[in-house]
Amino acid sequence: MKKSGAQILVDCLREQGVDTIFGYPGGAVLPIYDALYDADIRHILTRHEQGAAHAADGYARASGRPGVCLATSGPGATNLVTGIANAYMDSVPLVAFTGQVVTSQLGKDSFQEADITGITLPITKHNYLVKDVRDLARVIREAFHIATTGRPGPVLVDIPKDVSSAVIEYEDPGPVNLPGYRPVLEPSAEQLNRAAEAIARAERPVIYAGGGVVYSGAHRELRRFAELILAPVATTLMGLGGFPGDHPLALGMLGMHGSKYANYAVCECDLLIAVGVRFDDRVTGKLESFASQARIMHIDIDPAEIGKNVRVDIPLVGDVKRVLSALIERLKAKLPGAWQEKIQTWKKEYPITYEENGRLKPQQVIREIYRVTKGQARITTEVGQHQMWAAHYYTYTRPRTFISSGGLGTMGFGLPAAIGVQVACPGETVFDIAGDGSIQMNIQELATAVNYDLPVKVAILDNGYLGMVRQWQELFYNRRYSYSELVNPDFVKLAEAYGAEGIRVEKPADVRPALEQALATSKPVLIDFIIEREENVLPFVPPGESLDRMLG
């Protein structure tokens, strides 16, 4: 059968089960867009390619299926870069397709040429420039295989215009064969036995769980594991929802903005069981004093993470779900003792709280969002103080319900991500908890939400500052608020101009009615919460300090 490159692409996407792609057209992808015109694939036209990448990312994080985005060559491709880097840092399965100038013009600084495979080399799990249409189907199958297996990550496929328009007699390339790519899924029995022994012997175990738990679908196993050995569970930002936040063993988040009890537990444990994490500096604080009394066990699918930042005593390489299941089989239930008691005392003694003073507090807004959504919403965030409040004051009980830019810390992620989440989870309530600074980085995506009737709700915690920057300036730069104060547009009018609904809230009493109003409509809604301007995120471990040196 004769097929064009573009047709091959569309057929391969269908074969991979792709139902939606997020994209933006341009010259080099015109053949692809022509094939999409009558393809059985939904295309969401974002208003910026960065929005397309983040939306595909949000779609992937919420659904567990690969997210797909598409952009033209040159500026279209470079606009994807932040989104790709974001997906890379957080191990999100993303397949990005870019158009490229025709092969004969490659390397000549042609119009809208950018060496996107070169540019994305360090921020993709792998990437391809397809110079021959006969390679296209094979490459696309490999791209999806690589993006979704092992430690997930973004893969970019760059397709010159003459490749997408070339017509060939199509031959099926057969199954993927990558001799250099064999992720290790099964842990070794020897490692498992050592680990089980160490767990059995531990008196003060703590579990430190991250995104790997969520991605491998191991939340049930983690819960059983924790309950079996009675180990409290601290999660990273990426791990929120991987363990029920309302569980008696839950410690909430650890690290720079962790709870005091999580950080104390890590400081005093004798066995730290790290599960699907990468010992980020925002988590460990000062490395020398991190879990300094403990032996460290590290369970991860990526062998390169073992020993990268900290010395690991007991490595366990494999898929988190399989490793935990295998460990559970080898372990006996533990009985509660002094350690469990101590944890509960800490939890009572150092709860995460804020001071109520009659003015509108960001923490209160998040608590109310939690209440009106009964804890069942999918939350995305931007980056800043509001992100940390969203992590602390909404309780996440299910995986894939908290979706936030962790590793890269990308302002502007939340709104387009919410769009992707809403596409993946129609009928669910999706909130972007935003800052007044961050929201302006991809505010144009309100048009996308309106265009496609995606009822995402945006809650801006509007402090008139780049609040997290201001907090650091307050604490470490003697209150010199250098360029961190914002002069903002009228967000309500802006929302209305986009065809969304806009609500402004200035008093604590108005929070709930506003949220109820927002949930009552099927339109996208933006709520501008004018909050206490100089509220700080607490507790807070100053950068480079040991985890037990918390402010607040």
């Binding site: 360090p122 420039l129 990558l178 001799p179 250099g180 990526d302 062998p303």
Partner: protein, 172 residues
């Protein structure tokens, strides 16, 4: 400590950039890198000499493994192996000095591959120590130009670094 890695890679465009980029990005120090095709035209072999302690080497190896195009990595440092490098040196060679230079060449079993009016090009192969000694001996005459290939290495005896029958990625 310096380690010698034999790395088999798929002969895809960009594979050298991926490997080199990895080393510079993660701050690993490459002493030398030599690359060329193997008997299988789809596969190239890199010999990488890298400086670092055991922890660094472990990271280098694991990070290299993550590259999809990398098929197999062997750290052969601790094994018996043959290593060679080839150097071309263009040296000042006024007629009255040529005899001396030819004697030096003899000692190192180097070959004279070009004779100009005032210069000679000598070709020498050997391990690093020999190449260094050779260079030192020629220095007094004035080296005009020097180019070396970087080290290549191979295990001695019947052991070999190759893709095993099932083609899987492993290191030994």
């Amino acid at each position: 400590m310096r380690h010698t890695l034999a790395v088999l890679v798929e002969n895809n465009p960009g594979v050298l950039a991926r490997v080199a980029g990895l080393f510079s990005r993660r701050g690993y120090n490459i002493d030398s890198l030599a690359v060329g095709r193997t008997d299988n035209p789809a596969i190239s072999r890199m010999t990488i000499v890298v400086e670092g302690d055991d922890r660094v080497l472990e990271q280098v190896t694991k990070q290299l493994h993550k590259l999809i195009d990398v098929i197999k990595i062997s750290d052969i440092t601790a094994d018996e192996y043959v290593d060679r490098e080839l150097v071309l040196i263009k040296v000042n060679a006024e007629p009255e000095k040529r005899g001396e230079i030819m004697q030096i060449a003899d000692i190192f079993r180097a070959r004279i591959v070009d004779l100009g009016r005032r210069t000679m090009i000598l070709e020498c192969t050997g391990n690093e120590g020999k190449i260094k000694a050779f260079e030192e001996s020629l220095k007094p005459y004035g080296i005009k130009e020097l180019v070396r290939t970087g080290k290549i290495a191979m295990l001695r005896g019947s052991r070999y670094t190759n893709i095993n029958s099932n083609g899987s990625k492993e290191d030994d």
